[in-house]
């Protein structure tokens, strides 16, 4: 079956009433994925023997029996986890990520692992050892990245919800490109234990779904303190679904002028301004704000993220697990050949960039400076959130671009993330909610909030959803 008209509540009802069995749901899901994925390539691994927990408790667990897609950089015990890299293409984890443990406890069903840019580095899901994923709205377009597989799995109706990870916009940008909701929670809200590290101080696991409420339901399960991750907050996690359906009267909405500059596609500006007008019409207070440091976020991000990545990826050295090159003469040869053959171009580019930024002569000029800029960006947001509940603007500067059109120009690809990166540098929660169509392709409205105030994001996103009813639209590429 496909989930184009479903959400967790509707499925939960059918399962509880017995009009649908969880086993059948799992089998049909797998069958549909196998059918539709021929043109989408959203999955790296499909678990044909998807196991449904026994004695499902539908009234206690909203997620019981619900198939959920997992981005293939999140550890699942005994199921291949590859980070879309040749270097891990046969890797079988021996433990579960904390988020997986919690979803298992909530009796969710696992049907497989979704495609991504290798080690979550990229904005198009073209940098995958397992091939390009296609956008269901137009199969010639990229789905965005790096959580492109998860976004497509949701947008195409293969599943009702998916986990992604977001280091510089990897949940929000593909959510925008595919016309779905995607949220990156506050840094420290969801345990990173079991997420293959890209950039530790920026990475955050989040949720993608057609409806904001569905993501709230999944986030309820995966959020909260965990002894495995010392960067995690111990504060209480609210029930995020309580923010669904709330009135937005009096909501203070900041609109950064830098986010609606000429650098943003005119069609996108128009759609975003319409959504902001709708917020105002419903009683929200709109304030023009300024984020002057926006022009520095791309270089700042690429120094910090690549530096951390260059170190995080050193463990893939051919010694303990993963790919090891043949025909090596000595130890150095094992390292060099395994890494040269195992990593793709984009990953190598970032390892080089990060290694350079951290090197003895460069640390003070690059990494230290970048860390200082990051602190200033945090302050900029602190000032804005002293006066505003949320900040809104477009998620991306353009709609989804053509497959192959940007992959040879890394700088152009990096600049795609200019609107999403700030939230990662500041550690604040941010989401993308479908705002409308531009030239037949979906575009997203980005909503950011203060640290640990995901509630305001859900409240705003749910209002937008109810107003524009984008969720009723079907991706053009899925019509036979």
């Amino acid at each position: 079956m496909n989930y184009l008209n479903e959400d967790i509540d509707s499925l939960n009802q059918k399962l509880a009433q017995g009009t649908l069995s969880a086993d059948k749901l799992a089998q049909d899901t797998v069958a549909n994925i196998k059918q539709t994925d021929k043109k989408l390539n959203a999955w790296i691994t499909v678990q044909e023997d998807a196991k449904v927990s026994e004695e499902l408790n539908f009234s206690h667990n909203k997620l019981a029996g619900i198939p959920i897609a997992i981005k293939d950089n999140i550890m699942t015990d005994g199921v291949k986890t590859t980070a879309a890299s040749h270097i891990l293409d046969n890797y079988l984890p021996v433990y579960d990520a904390t988020v997986i443990e919690r979803l298992k406890k909530a009796q969710a069903t696992f049907v497989g692992k979704t495609n991504l840019d290798e080690f979550a580095m990229g904005s198009s899901t073209e940098h995958s050892y397992f091939g390009v994923t296609h956008n269901p709205w137009n199969l010639d377009k990229v789905p965005g990245g790096s959580s492109g597989g998860s976004a497509v799995a949701v947008a195409s109706g293969q599943v009702v919800a998916a986990l992604g990870s977001d280091t510089g916009g990897s949940i929000r940008q593909p959510a925008a490109f595919n016309g779905i909701f995607g949220i990156k929670p506050t840094y420290g809200r969801v345990s990173r234990w079991g997420l293959i590290a890209f950039a530790s101080s920026l990475d955050q696991i989040g949720v993608m779904s057609k409806r904001a409420k569905t993501s709230a339901q999944v986030l309820n399960v995966i959020a909260g303190s965990d002894d495995h991750d010392s960067t995690l907050s111990t504060r209480d996690v609210p029930d995020f679904t309580q923010f669904i359906g709330q009135d937005i009267k009096g909501l203070r909405v900041g609109v950064p002028k830098e986010y609606l500059s000429d650098a943003v596609d005119a069609g996108i500006r128009t759609v975003v301004e319409e959504q902001i007008a709708a917020l105002e019409a419903a009683g929200a207070i709109i304030n023009e704000v300024s984020l002057p440091l926006t022009k520095y976020v791309v270089p700042d991000y690429y120094i910090i993220a690549s530096s951390e990545a260059s170190s995080n990826l050193q463990r893939y050295d051919g010694i303990r697990y993963g790919y090891r090159a043949d025909d090596t003469k000595n130890l150095l040869d094992v390292y060099v050949k395994s890494r040269s053959e195992g990593f793709g171009e984009e990953v190598k580019r970032r390892i080089m960039l990060g290694s350079f930024a951290l090197s003895a002569g460069s640390y003070d000029r690059f990494f230290r400076q970048a860390a200082k800029v990051r602190t200033l960006i945090c302050q900029e947001f602190d000032d804005i959130f002293a006066q505003n509940d949320v900040v809104v603007g477009p998620t991306t500067t353009t709609p989804a671009f053509d497959i192959g059109s940007e992959i040879s120009d890394p700088i152009k690809m990096y600049n795609n993330d200019i609107l999403t990166i700030s939230a990662n540098l500041a550690g604040i929660p941010a989401a993308s909610v479908p705002a409308g169509l531009v030239d037949g392709m979906p575009i997203g409205l980005q909503i950011m909030a203060n640290r640990f105030d995901e509630g305001s994001i859900f409240k705003t996103a749910d209002f937008i959803e109810r107003t524009n009813k984008f969720y009723e639209k079907k991706p053009a590429g899925m019509e036979d």
Binding site: V94, A97, S200, H228, D229, S311, Q314, D317, F367
Partner: protein, 476 residues
């Protein structure tokens, strides 16, 4: 030409925690390869470190004992390098903000006191261990991966090998008495790297440094430094240049041998560890730890000599290890006479440990039992001869000395109403001895005492018998 030496030390101590610094794996010495490891130690994709806070506690103890300033907010950094025994290909250490800085210790060499500065001490994780098989394969054991280390870096204020030796001895003693580390060089819980440079007297800037790593005894440290002083002087005198290099000490020849020449420092690309949040070390916590800091060796020495009146030699023997000093202190606390306790510790107990190649932790003797036995001697319940039997029993089987003495009927006979008739009888039966005694041969008394001891199977109180014998003989 006269040369001046500048010597520095980097000493690693394994901190005595139950589990590793960033994982729940246990820490013990000599376990089967790779049995004390988990996904964190293997650096499996997706794992995160988590700081074992006990590491801070032990590190702070050493910092306090060396008068160092403790950093209020400390965090870890990454030191990046590839090596098969380094699973993450980086080591988590403290580079930018070490645990403590600017400490010192006092040494005494040839009667002269000197203060040696401690530049810093930082916490880090140990790496695994490679072994190279004869079959062309190499093996990696990750049991040691993640064992917590405290690295103590001295200021280059040591000016000759004797001072170096004294510094190491003093540092070891200080750390040992905090209880933070086992300080066993043979088990690698204390590891010494040293460096030395020489320069002509009067020259200000330091000469080129030569490093020596993993020296396995203090004596080797002293010999290698002495050798290097001479070697480097010869190089300079013959117009050569000392190479920036790492050398090793060859035990067989007593010489140092070139291992590798350094072109410059390796680039470890240090940066703050993003997987760990910074930790605040509050003054309250430091004060709390200071309360639990065991007494230093120096303070104990002063007590032993000044308060208990022990000879410096005896005090030093007791202070050779923290275990023996603790054992002694507990024995005294349990009511034993300090001098007697010291005698028994330094002769009988040490003798037993040496003969059986065991340590105090392995034997059944407790301070309470040793104290009980010493009390029995002191109050005359048993003779020192009987005491040896009691001691043997107690140390072998952990038997309560008092109960053993009672059960075995070993209580000393001091009752004159029992002993007087026996004395009379022995004197009656040995007229020759009486004759000898009267002729001034003191030896005769010894013979008579022996006879009574024989009859009482050693239980008679020699003092009482002597007294009774003298009285009896005077009557004759």
């Amino acid at each position: 030409m006269n040369f001046k030496s500048t010597i520095g030390f980097e000493v690693h101590f394994e901190l005595k925690t139950k589990s590793k610094i960033f994982s729940p794996s246990p820490v013990s010495y000599g376990a089967k390869q790779n049995t004390e490891t988990n996904v964190i130690d293997w650096a499996m994709p997706g794992v995160l470190p988590y700081v074992n806070k006990d590491v801070y506690r032990l590190g702070i103890m050493v910092a306090l004992a060396t008068h160092a300033h403790i950093t209020p907010v400390t965090h870890f950094d990454r030191k990046n390098y590839y090596y098969p025994d380094s699973p993450k290909a980086y080591q988590i250490t403290q580079f930018f903000e070490p645990l403590a800085r600017d400490g010192y210790i006092e040494i005494e060499v040839h009667g002269k006191k000197k203060r040696i500065g401690i530049h810093e001490m930082h916490i880090e994780e140990d790496a695994g261990k490679n072994t190279h098989g004869t079959n062309g394969f190499s093996y990696v054991d990750l049991n040691r991966q993640g064992v917590p280390l405290l690295e103590v870096v001295s200021e280059p204020e040591i000016s000759d090998p004797d001072e170096g030796y004294a510094y190491l001895e003093k540092l070891r003693k200080i750390v040992q008495f905090t209880g933070a580390s086992d300080v066993k060089m043979e088990e690698g819980s204390m590891r010494v790297d040293t460096n030395i440079s020489i320069r002509p007297a009067g020259q200000k800037e330091l000469g080129t440094k030569v490093e020596m790593k993993n020296l396995n005894s203090f004596e080797h440290v002293r010999k290698s430094l002495a050798y290097e002083e001479k070697r480097q002087a010869q190089v300079l005198l013959s117009g050569g240049r000392v190479q920036l290099s790492t050398r090793r000490f060859d035990e067989a020849t007593g010489k140092t041998v070139l291992e590798r020449v350094k072109e410059g420092d390796a680039d470890y690309r240090y940066f703050p560890e993003p997987d760990l949040a910074p930790d605040r070390i509050s003054q309250e916590w430091i004060d709390e730890i200071a309360q639990t800091l065991p007494k230093s060796a120096q303070d104990r020495y002063d007590d032993y000599v000044n308060k208990y009146g022990l000879k410096p030699y005896d005090a030093n023997v007791l202070l050779q290890t923290k275990e023996s000093s603790d054992f002694f202190d507990e024995t005294v606390a349990a009511g034993a006479d300090p001098q007697l306790a010291a005698n028994w510790m330094n002769t009988q107990v040490n003798g037993y440990l040496n003969d059986n190649r065991v340590s105090l932790a392995d034997i059944k003797l407790t301070p309470a039992n040793l104290a009980a036995m010493i009390k029995l001697i002191k109050d005359g319940t048993i003779s020192s001869k009987i005491a040896k039997k009691v001691f043997a029993e107690t140390i072998e089987h952990g038997t309560d000395p008092k109960k053993f003495v009672e059960d075995q009927g070993m209580v000393q006979l001091s009752d004159t109403s029992v002993l007087a008739p026996m004395v009379k009888e022995v004197v009656d039966n040995n007229p020759q001895s009486v004759e000898d005694f009267k002729n001034g041969k003191d030896r005769a008394i010894g013979y008579l005492v022996g006879q009574i001891m024989k009859q009482t199977r050693g239980k008679a109180n020699p003092k009482v018998i002597n007294q009774l014998l003298n009285q009896e003989l005077q009557k004759r």
